[in-house]
Amino acid sequence: MTKRRIVGLEGSFAIAEAVRMANVDVISAYPITPQTHIVERLAEMIADGELDAEFICVESEHSAMSACVGASAAGARVFTCSASQGLELMHEVLYIPSSMRLPIVAVAANRALSAPLSVWCDHSDVMAIRDIGWIQIFAENNQQAFDLTVCAYRIAEDKEVLFPAMVHMDGFYLSHVTEGVMLPDEEEVAQFIPDYEYPFVLDPDNPVSMGCYGPPFIYPEAKKAQEVDFEKTKPKIQEVWNEFGDTFGRSYSPVEEYQMEDASIALLTMGSSGETAMLAADEMRAEGREVGLVRLRLWRPFPFKEFREAVKDVELLVVLDRALSFGMGGPVCSEVKSALYEKRKELNIVGFIGGLGGRDIPIDGFKYMVNRAVERVKAAEWGEEMGPEMIGVRE
């Protein structure tokens, strides 16, 4: 008999519950808005004896990730979380666990980058860490934040995976907003992510040298092996999500579709704006327009196959970027274009940049994007250059 219950939880607290049920050994984190509620809640859990873990209150995010690397190499199940400048400061360290195959789980409460200083949400921090070799997953609501964090441990620690995983949760939109979250029974979670033994642990009985120096005669082989194995994680990720669905009733996939049946226009989002975009799609459908929505759940490794399949019948793809690559446009839009270039040359892709630094994108914002994209495609047919457009910005 399981005891599942629905509890009102902030995204941050939902994450903390997932980490508690994962029974982590070591938490190492440095406070940064909007991630603070996660670490505060975890510290409370430890103080109240609800979680038996070492909490290393490090002096920087660089050290937060470094301590996770050490703890993971010593066989511990670890957790850290950060955002924005914090992810930037730990950037150098982020490449280490993915290259040394340490299954660290981290959460990013996505936030804009300075300057000017902004504590509010966008995906600039995510885009700056695209290429770190971590499995990166986007949550849209607090339930998903919980579920995907639980799944992240199972995925990362799988012997065929052994890559670090990061769950992205939009700062404030999720981290500080209370929603009903269905919490499973602790026992169920413990069965889903059992204790694991890291195969190459730092142990005086079986000495290993980790992090050796790689000259040109071996470095490319090391990187190729890493890439080959990273690609191989995709089926495993889906397998874990399916199994989660069988056990807990909610399953996930790398690319998720909404109202996509016979849709000729598709919106593409990542993170919490997906839920607003759903409402926009509903309203436009009610107006008789064939608009659907594609949400990228798995950001890395990029789900090429699933993505191409999701948009195979679409004529116009409208991409929202919550980040800006200066002099280039929206990073997600350029990736999507490159993912489709070989297969769908006739597909029109129009990118918009919006929601920077916590600027809301209301339902009308998505409708505007769709209408504007239709207009722009027509204009482009007459030879007009189609650069990225920033929406909801005062001129």
Partner: protein, 312 residues
């Protein structure tokens, strides 16, 4: 030198023939750092995990697919030894408490150079010392960024030539600042054990490693590591220079145990710094006036240290 002191420093003792830092590594000929690492590893024994910063040691000991380490060893980055060692220690602590592994008294050790300690790694080390993790940190001080090609660090002594503090037509001194006193920074953290050592006094070095291992809490060991390549001196005088630096009072050997200072070796009279400086090409440009300045500074610092020893 008092007889007791002499016995402590020079009386032959049984030392393990185990080489946990295996020969065949790629250190330069006459490397004082490799010598120090070898002694430290003899004292550490097998029940140890070593965290190594980027730098000479990591480069000359771990060229894939080879390794010189017969004990568990991990290198990740340049500036994070303090944090990585904190993570490993915490992992063991948590896993022992949760009954996942047995407590076998594993010792956690950090290795870094002077740059990785007193410059780029200072923050991570300070954090680890402040939080009170149970670990031993060994700084192998060769007084510049030797691995990248002899660039100055905050641990480079006044007057030394380096590639980024060169001796030119206008600037003729080389390094224009005084060496950062890293052991005193460690002492300021009120950790239970801080010591300085030189591999030219191998028994003293090994004793200090053992004391640092045994003490509960953070221990900091600052080890003088002669670099013939960077210091422009013949490799066969490495041990001699490591001794002269102590005998001149430039690098006194001492311990600070729970805040109490103890001189490991005291000399009724210090040798003139000139004897030390003249043996190294990195100081060849110094004028008499520069040498006097250094002499005065060394005497002042030595006196200050002796007052601390007296005032326990």
């Amino acid at each position: 030198m008092a007889q007791e002191q002499e016995e402590k420093l020079f009386l032959p003792r049984f030392i393990t023939t185990d080489e946990n830092f295996a020969p065949g590594h790629r250190a330069c000929i006459g490397c004082g750092e490799a010598l120090a690492v070898r002694h430290v590893c003899k004292a550490l024994g097998n029940n140890v995990i070593i965290v190594n910063a980027t730098g000479c040691i990591e480069i000359f000991s771990s060229l894939l697919p080879l390794t010189s380490w017969r004990v568990p060893w991990i290198h990740t980055l340049f500036e994070n030894v303090g944090a990585v060692v904190s993570g490993i220690e915490s992992a063991y602590k948590a896993r022992i408490r949760k009954g996942k592994i047995e407590d076998r008294g594993v010792v956690f050790v950090g290795f870094a150079g002077d740059g990785g300690t007193s410059d780029i790694g200072l923050q991570a080390l300070s954090g680890a010392m402040e939080r009170g993790h149970n670990f031993l940190y060994c700084c192998f001080d060769n007084e510049a960024y030797m691995n990248t090609g002899i660039q100055r660090s905050s641990s480079t002594p006044y007057g030394a030539w380096t590639t980024t503090a060169p001796v030119g037509k206008k600037s003729i001194v080389g390094q224009m600042t005084w060496k950062k006193n890293m052991p005193e920074i460690a002492v300021a953290h009120r950790i239970p054990y801080v010591a300085t050592a030189s591999p030219s006094f191998p028994f003293d070095l090994m004793d200090k490693v053992k004391r640092g291992m045994e003490i509960e809490g953070p221990a900091y060991l600052h080890i003088f590591s002669v670099c013939p390549t960077g210091w422009r001196c013949p490799p066969e005088i490495t041990v001699e220079i490591g001794r002269l630096v102590v005998e001149t009072g430039i690098f006194p050997l001492y311990e600070v145990i729970n805040g109490e200072y103890h001189l490991s070796v005291d000399f009724p009279e210090l040798k003139p710094v000139r004897e030390y400086l003249k043996k190294q090409g990195r100081f060849r440009h110094l004028t008499e006036k520069d040498i006097e300045r250094i002499q005065a500074r060394v005497e002042e610092e030595y006196q200050r240290l002796k007052e601390k020893v007296g005032g326990k």
